[in-house]
C-alpha cells in the first residue's frame, strides 16, 4: 500500500481482511481500491464530486454521489465495521454531528484531519498576523473548504465530551510518522481510531 498517502496507509493497515468499510469522502477511491485489492475488504464510498464518483465507478468501486452532511443519515445503524473520514471533518457543516453519524453507521471509525496547532501554523498566525496558508492547508480563508479548523487537543476534547473512546492515534509531519509527545505542536496531520 506504498502508493497511499501516509495517513491512508496507516488506516489501511488497521482494517482486517473481509471487513465492511464505508469511506466518507472517498475521493478518487485510492484507499477503497487498496483495501479491496489487498485485503478483500467490502468497501463502500460516499463522495460529493460527481467526476470523482465516475472515476471510482469506472474502477469497479461502489460509490454513492452525495453530501456527507446530509446523506449519512440514510445509512442503517451498524452497517459497517469501520467508517472512515479522512481529511473531511474540517469541511463538515457540523463536525460533531458528523462524528455521531460515523459512529452510528460504523462500530469503529478512523478520523484524520489537519492539525491547526502545528507549530508552523502557530508561528504564521503569531508573526504574520494572518490566517495561515500551509502546504497541508492550502487555500485562502475566503476560498477554503476547510470551514471548521481544529487542533489535536480540540478533537480529543470533543471525543471526551461525547464519551467516545480513542483506541489508537497516529501523528504525521512531512509524511513521516511521529511519536505522540508534543503532537499538538509537532503534527501536521492526525489519525484517530475511535469507537463508541
Amino acid at each position: 500500500m506504498s502508493a497511499l498517502r501516509p495517513d491512508l496507509a496507516v488506516i489501511a493497515q488497521q482494517v482486517p481482511a473481509g471487513a465492511r468499510v464505508l469511506d466518507v469522502g472517498c475521493g478518487d477511491g485510492s484507499l477503497m481500491a487498496a483495501l479491496r485489492d489487498e485485503r478483500g475488504v467490502d468497501a463502500r464510498g460516499l463522495e460529493l464530486d460527481p467526476e470523482k464518483v465516475a472515476l471510482c465507478v469506472s474502477r469497479g468501486l461502489s460509490v454513492i454521489q452525495g453530501d456527507a452532511n446530509r446523506d449519512l443519515v440514510e445509512y442503517p445503524d451498524d452497517s459497517f465495521d469501520f467508517a472512515i473520514l479522512s481529511q473531511t471533518l474540517q469541511t463538515a457543516e457540523r463536525p460533531d454531528l458528523m462524528l455521531d453519524q460515523l459512529l452510528r453507521v460504523g462500530r469503529r471509525a478512523f478520523v484524520s484531519f489537519p492539525n491547526f496547532a502545528y507549530w508552523r501554523m502557530r508561528f504564521s498566525l503569531l508573526l504574520g498576523g494572518r490566517m495561515p496558508v500551509a502546504r497541508h492547508l492550502p487555500g485562502s480563508w475566503y476560498a477554503t473548504e476547510n470551514i471548521h479548523h481544529l487542533t489535536v487537543r480540540d478533537f480529543e476534547e470533543l471525543l471526551a465530551v461525547k464519551g467516545v473512546k480513542t483506541e489508537r492515534r497516529w501523528f504525521f509531519a512531512h509524511e513521516e510518522k511521529l511519536g505522540a509527545g508534543g503532537a499538538n505542536w509537532r503534527a501536521e496531520h492526525a489519525v484517530f481510531q475511535i469507537s463508541r
Partner: protein, 367 residues
Amino acid sequence: MATVLASTSRTHSLSDPLPLDSGQELAGVTLAYETYGDLAADKGNAILIFHALTGDQHVASPHPITGKPGWWNRMIGPGKVIDTSRFYVICANVIGGCMGSTGPASLTADGKAHAMRFPVITIRDMVRAQVALLDALGIERLHAIVGGSMGGMQALSFAANWPDRTQRVLAIATTARHSAQNIAFHEVGRQAIMADPNWQNGDYYETGKGPDAGLAVARMAAHITYLSEAGLTGKFGRRLQDREAKSFGFDADFQIESYLRHQGLSFTNRFDANSYLYITRAMDYFDLAEEHGGRLADAFARCTARFCVISFDTDWLYPTAESRVIAHALNAAGAAVSFVELSAPFGHDSFLLDVPAQDSVIKGFLE
C-alpha cells in the same frame, strides 16, 4: 455512415401461458428479440438490455420501418462501451409492444386482434416474459442487466424479483415508482388517443384508419418531457419556421411547433396506439416498494448483484431525487451500489445521447 452491426433477429414462443400480476394469464406469448455477439460456452457473458417506452429490440441494428440506426447504436458493438466482441447482448421487445412481441395488435385464436381485450400488464409481467426467454436460452445468470427509463424500471423489477439471475444491475434515468406528475403526463397522452374518433374503442385494426392524430398528440406531449428547457431553448428558441414573420394564424409558426408535429407524425408510422395505452399503463402501475410491503429496501433484500444507478442533472421526468431514493434503499438493504448524477444538457434523453461520462461509468461498471 455507421457500420451496420451483425445481429440476429429471432422470435421465441413461450411454451406455457404467462401468469400476469392482474391474476389473468396470457396464452401464446411470442417474444421478438435481437442478439449481438456470441454466447460463451459457459453462457456467462450475456447482457440483457431492456428498452424504454417507445423503444424496441432493435437496440443496435437498423429499425425495420424507419431504417434509422438502433436506439443505442453508439453504445453497443465491437470495441464499444458494451463490447459485443466480449459480451452476448440480448434485447427483446416487451409484451404489449408492437414490434413482434405479443401485444394488443397480435391476433388471438379467433383471428382478430386482441385490441382492448389484451390484459393490462405490468413492468413485472414484461420482465417475467423475458425471464422465460432466458430460461429457454439456458442462461442462468446474466453478466448484467441494463436499462434506461422504462428499461431501468424493468432492470429494478428484475433485480428485486429474480435476484439470483444477474451479477450486475445498471439502471439509468429511472425511478422506483411513477409519480403523480409522471402518471398525469401519460394520462394526457392516453386521453388524446382515446378522444380520437378513429380509435374506435381500440378496434381500428381492420378499419383502415387508426387514431394517428391522437397518437401524434400523445407523442408530442411526451416528447416535451424527454427534453430540458435549456435544450429546447438552445435548439429552437423562439425562432420561426421557414418564414420571416408570424402568420397570425395557427400554422406551425415556431420551429418547436414544426419539430413536435414532425415527431408526432413520424411516430405514428412505427407505433401502435393501443400498445402506447398498455405500456404507459404498465409504467403508471409501477411501484416497486408497494410490491414488497411498502418499503423499497425490502424489495432488494435478497439481492447479491452489484448495482449502478445513473441520473442526469437536466432530467425532470425522472429527476435525480428518484435515483437517490433507489440508491439509499439499496444501501439500506446492504447491496453494493454506486450512484452518480451526471451533467448533460439533453434532459431525460441524455441516456440515449453522447455523454462521455456515462460511457466511462458504464464501461467501468461492466468490467
